[in-house]
């Protein structure tokens, strides 16, 4: 098999044994990327930089001082600042922006020896569940069952498509309401959203700062453990970054979950849940039970209010964060007419630069924060958010080790099939994922099987705060029992 199909763990071992060079591994990915343009996953390619980093990685490997990610080719979601490389957050308003600095995650990955292949497609400012709001046009899911092109999910859809199609060994993603886990599920890969504060947000274009968290998107749980170890850690430049030691996540993958209590939240069993999703969930319970865990019925009573809470808080924070795009310091500035002043410059610049969904969320956020509505919407949502967090605290205090739930309410849908007339339809994709972001908890999506249509379906495990190591071990058990090895047939 061509080296671009390898896992991080396999590539790491082969690199250390000298069975392949980082340059050859990188070349395999660059070739796959050029052959994968039909997926519209990589939107800015950086082959020269990648090869330079690969040569440096080979030197470190030869010197015998190579960390786990040394020589591993990865893709970066377009939200992460990479010095000198276009970083547009999928938006026209940042067209031409080349940051003068690296995000902390970029720095950490490069210091660990990773090779950066380029920037990956995403929904504009991470607002979406299909990559259809991207200024680059949608990314396409490598999975295909008929004439339709399917969405890879979003917002980290380019990352998920690239990993599933073996264009790179792994990719970075970010998750504000499900943007790592939903695309991972749609593309049949693994993705973890760490505990809020585990990974630095510095240098990642902000959407909703109290919800945003970066994480790895990989082919296996072991790879997620390896890459998360390289991305995580305290950063003085992010005031919400937790000053906690980063455990050896990979060492935690013992496969032993005997006696652990797995909560099954009854509120997640929605009316009209497709039978294949319900059946998958039941199978997941059996797998964990067979591994010696105890399955426990639990209640998270405020679950149904998570989505509306999110759609108050996230737009409110976005309206504040995105105020910085004013046509003055970076990115797009509208051409002005005779007599236009600074207000016209702001208004025209933002009308031209932001796409329709981003404009809507900024305006919805502006509305809920405006005088007269702040208490009715924003403060009420923050109170409900406190209740949602308390639901989780209570079940964890009662001894639950992890929670098992579906990742998405369906498998991947066709491009153009959702959200056309009512934006809320698209929002419902996040129904199982968004609760964790509100509570700041870690969650991992694991591919478990193919649905009746032949498309991947995933389950999600939700963990206690800061216990990603134990969470990944649970995910590893699920992954091993599920034995999901299906790959999309190459059509692109």
């Amino acid at each position: 098999m061509s080296a671009n199909t390898w896992t991080i763990a396999d590539a790491r071992d082969a690199l250390r044994k000298g069975e392949i060079t980082a340059v050859d591994l990188t070349m395999a990915c660059l070739t796959a990327i050029d052959a994968g343009d039909g997926l519209n996953a990589f939107v800015h390619k950086t082959p020269e930089m990648a090869l330079e980093q690969a040569r440096a990685a080979d030197a470190r490997l030869a010197a015998g001082e190579a960390p786990a990610m040394c020589g591993i080719p990865v893709g970066m979601k377009d939200l992460f600042a990479v010095k000198g490389v276009p970083t547009q957050a999928g938006s026209n308003i940042l067209r031409g922006f080349k940051p003068e600095y690296d995000s902390t995650v970029t720095t950490k990955l490069v210091d660990a020896g990773a090779v950066l292949l380029g920037k990956l497609n995403m929904d504009e400012f991470a607002m979406g569940s299909s990559t259809e709001s991207s200024c680059y046009g949608p990314a396409v899911n490598p999975w295909k069952i008929d004439d339709r092109k399917l969405t890879p999910g979003g917002s980290s859809g380019g990352s998920a498509a690239a990993v599933a199609a073996d264009l790179c060994l792994a990719a970075t993603g970010t998750d504000t309401g499900g943007s790592i886990r939903q695309p991972a599920a749609f593309c049949g890969i693994t993705g973890i959203k760490p505990t809020y504060g585990r990974v630095s947000r510095w240098g990642i274009v902000a959407y909703a700062s109290s919800l945003d968290q970066a994480g790895p998107m990989t082919k296996t749980v072991r790879d997620a453990a390896i890459m998360l170890g390289a991305m995580a850690g305290h950063d003085p430049k992010d005031s919400t970054s937790a000053d906690l030691a980063v455990p050896d996540f990979e060492a935690a993958l013992t496969g032993d979950i005997r006696g652990k209590q797995i909560g099954i939240p009854r509120e997640y069993r929605l009316d009209g849940m497709p039978t294949e999703i319900a059946a998958l969930w039941d199978r997941g319970m059996d797998m964990l039970r067979d591994a010696g865990a105890k399955i426990v019925d639990i209640s998270l009573p405020h679950t149904k209010y998570a989505l509306p809470t999110y759609y108050v808080i996230a737009p409110a924070e976005a309206s504040s964060n995105l105020a910085r795009y004013d046509g003055v310091r970076y990115g797009h500035r509208a051409k002005l007419a005779q007599g236009d002043g600074i207000t016209e410059m702001y208004e025209k610049t933002r009308a031209e630069g932001f796409g329709p969904e981003v404009q809507r969320r900024i305006m919805a956020g502006t509305y809920v924060l405006s005088a007269g509505f702040y208490d009715a919407y924003y403060n009420r949502a923050r109170k409900v958010r406190a209740l949602i967090k308390r639901d989780f605290e209570q079940v964890f205090a009662a001894g639950i080790d992890a929670i098992l739930a579906p990742t998405t309410p369906s498998s991947a849908f066709g491009l153009g099939e959702q959200g056309g007339s009512n934006p809320v339809e698209m929002y419902l994709n996040d129904v199982f994922t968004v609760t964790l972001n509100l509570a700041g908890l870690p969650g991992v999506a694991v591919p478990v099987g193919l649905g009746s249509k032949g498309l991947p379906l995933g389950l999600q495990l939700i963990g206690r705060p800061w216990e990603e190591a134990a969470l990944l071990n649970h995910a590893h058990v699920l992954e091993t029992a599920a034995g999901f090895v299906a790959k999309p047939g190459k059509w692109w």
Binding site: G96, F97, P99, E100, T195, Y196, G197, S210, P236, S239, T240, A242, H302, K304, Y305, L307, P308, T309, P315, A323, G327, V328, R329, Y330, G331, R333, G341, I342, E344, M345, Y346, E347, K348, R350, A351, F354, Q359, R360, I362, M363, A364, T366, Y367, S370, Y377, N379, R380, A381, R382, K383, V384, R385, A386, L387, K389, N422, P423, A439, G440, P465
Partner: protein, 95 residues
């Protein structure tokens, strides 16, 4: 609560996003469906609940109030659409 075109115009103005008059009714409709969705929160009893202000219960770190960065004028201005003589340039603000 449903939003009419006038309210949509006001919100667009507050958000500093130009919206043509002809587009206001459609925008008002979409904002109304989003707000309608938010209104489910009115069902929740939030009596005595404090609004959540911090995701994780930790005190923000403090640091000494000293300059830690600077002297990078060229880098700061590098991406500006219009930079002149070491400044960001904008249309005339004061007559």
């Amino acid at each position: 609560m449903s939003i009419d075109s006038d309210t949509a115009r006001k919100v667009a103005k507050l958000a500093r996003i130009r919206v043509e008059d002809a587009d206001l009714p459609a925008l008002a409709g979409k904002l109304s469906s989003i707000l309608g969705f938010m209104e489910q929160l009115n069902e929740v009893d939030v009596t005595g609940i404090e609004p959540m202000t911090s995701v994780t219960p930790m005190r923000l770190k403090r640091r000494a109030d000293v300059v830690t960065d600077g002297n990078i004028q060229a880098a700061v201005l590098k991406n500006a659409p219009d930079a002149r003589e070491g400044f960001f340039a904008v249309p005339k603000v004061v007559e």
